[in-house]
Amino acid sequence: MSADIDTLPGYTSGNGTGHIVRWLAGFALRGGSLLAFAALLVFFSVAAPFFFTLGNIGNVLGQSAILGVLAIGLTIVIIGGGANVVKGGIDLSLAANLGLSAAVYATLVSAGYGDGVAIAGALLTGSLIGLVNAIAIVVFGIVPLLATLAVMNVVAGLELVLTQNTVVSASSDFLSLLSAYGPFDIPVLAYVLVIFTGIAAAIIQFTPLGLRLYAVGAFPEAARAAGLPVKRMVAGSYVASGFCGGVAGILSVSYLSGSTTGAGEMLLPVVVTALLSVVFSRRLVPTIGGTLLSTLLVGFLTNGFQLLNISSTLVSGIQGILILLVVAATSLQRGKGAA
């Protein structure tokens, strides 16, 4: 946990080759990740003519909305908890949260309640799950990885109890509004993703609250010494993440016209997307904008492969290789052992 001497900046800069390698890796990462993203878009546009059309890009945005909102929730937790995945911030309950929130929404709508009640129900469910995580981590002191793992099991079980492992179909005015197409023939979900990202980025990236969250995550002792309410900030990040789960639940009901039984499958893609966020920032820290970019990267990869008729089984392998490349470059850039 404590910073090793050889990871402090400047200490090893006298070492010529190591320095150059690190600089190259850093350059490749900073410019390179955006460049690689652009190259990927160009490749798909040339290979699949339909790829670079407003309609297709809008579709990708719309299809990525659920993943994006969940990944933003996880990003907030990672910012507030620090990047050490085992001891730092992580929320494994997010995918199950999406499932339960969606089930609550769909059940309320199909039981005849109005959209207002259903929306409130889903958001409250998501936030409550976040609150349970927060209590487990801050009050009981359980490691986040384990606390959210246990909560994930309970939440997934509750979803099964509520839906009896069936798809609860739901339709309402609000749902059809969400699943419709907006201006420029772009799905409403795409606009939702952009607006949600905008709000989250405004709070996390441009307010004192967001800055404090970064401080708490990067150096809790220093943050405590500076008088920041570390525990309350960490607890808040889990509630915010839970809230995102609730929002994603609503989006998911509109996208699938009902609740889904396979929400748990979302967990690993969400983790990957949030962790990849780091590459799209200059100082290699997780950011909301970075998360949007990595969400779109995953979305465009999947979409491009579909258009090119490449087997979708390759997508998860390529995601895996992507994580490893990114993280290897990151750790090279920071110096060994600091990853």
Binding site: V85, A150, V154, G157, L160, V161, S311, G317, Q319
Partner: protein, 332 residues
């Protein structure tokens, strides 16, 4: 929190009893659920059912959890244990199906599981990637690889006849009345506990797990030991793949992943048994036993399958909360 933090507490008072209950939360929980299911159902406390718990619920998870314990003891985590299970299973089935001797198939299945661990070792010790991300990457790559190998995820079945009896012996046989999987798991637990706690190698690994930088400054070869740990973890998980395959006579792509989260849960429940909150083999085994008994007992109560999952999750949550409350009391 503050109860345990009080340094001059009465050693025979209520506080100390509470502290003991917290300290041994796993054992208390184990005794509690055992007693509960014995009274709540008529079928739980029968020798047939207790054997079934050990063979059907305990064996495979125990093996995978022991593999996980090695990684966690070295200060890491292995999310790709399921990938090793799957690769071993695939290799085993494919070779037996192709007519190779069962012994050779077992050997190569073990090698393929260890190779998954070797890949992790390269990433972690070679490229300096954190274990969580490295093994997560391996998990994703392994998933695609299996789908490519099986034309998009089709199971590979073995025919009912014409297979060497040695094949089904691993999953269904008995040695002096004891089911073979149980014999294997028992031996594995003894070997693993010895390796980790009674050898120089094990002590170095534990030292690395506690404080990696100190181990490095003490002149220990950290990357080599960590790399070896992931190979061992993959090798142990491969044993589970072999037993699983021999029991069900089929390889189902990406089925090993189901063990991962429970193995993590059991390992960390097990850490509560150690005074320092460190991973240890006996603790892990008790953790697996707890999860197995709860899974089996809830099934017998006739509770809906869905409530069983809620119950299991709640129980893990309570055990973790109790033990972390206790640990925090010591640290403060």
């Amino acid at each position: 929190m503050s109860i345990a933090a009080n340094p001059d507490h009465n050693p025979f008072g209520l506080q100390s009893v509470g502290q003991y209950l917290l300290r041994y939360a796993v054992i208390v929980a184990l005794a509690g659920v055992f007693a509960f299911f014995s009274f709540a159902t008529t079928t739980f406390l029968t020798s047939a059912n207790l054997t079934s718990i050990l063979v059907n619920n305990f064996t495979l998870l125990a093996i995978v959890a022991v593999a996980m314990t090695f990684a966690v003891a070295a200060g890491g985590i292995d999310l790709s244990v399921g990938t090793s299970v799957d690769f071993a299973s695939f290799t085993f089935v494919s070779l037996v199906l192709a007519g190779y001797p069962v012994g050779l198939a077992i050997l190569l299945a073990l090698v393929s599981g260890a190779a998954v661990g070797g890949f992790n070792a390269l990433l972690i010790s070679g490229a300096g990637i954190t274990p969580f991300l490295a093994t997560l990457g391996t998990l994703f790559i392994g998933r695609s690889t299996q789908q490519l190998l099986t034309n998009g995820g089709n199971p590979v079945y073995l025919p009912q006849t014409g297979i060497s009896p040695l094949f089904s012996f691993i999953g269904h046989g008995h040695i002096i009345g004891v089911p073979v999987p149980l014999v294997i798991v028992g031996l594995l637990i003894i070997v693993a506990a010895t390796l980790l706690f009674r050898t120089r190698f094990g002590r170095v690994v534990l030292a690395i797990g506690v404080q990696q930088s100190v181990a490095r400054y003490s002149g220990l070869h950290v990357p080599g030991h960590i790399g070896l740990i992931y190979v061992i973890s993959g090798l142990i998980a491969a044993i589970a793949g072999i037993i699983l395959t021999s029991t069900v006579s089929v390889y189902i792509p990406n089925s090993g992943g189901a063990f991962m989260l429970n193995a993590i849960g059991a390992t960390f429940i097990g850490t509560t048994l150690s005074r320092e909150g460190r991973p240890n083999v006996p603790g892990t085994v008790l953790g697996v036993l707890l999860l197995s008994i709860v899974a089996n007992g809830l099934l017998l109560t006739g509770l809906s399958f869905y409530w069983q999952q809620v119950g299991t999750g709640l129980l893990i949550f309570i055990v973790l909360a109790a033990s972390f409350l206790n640990r925090r009391g010591r640290v403060d």
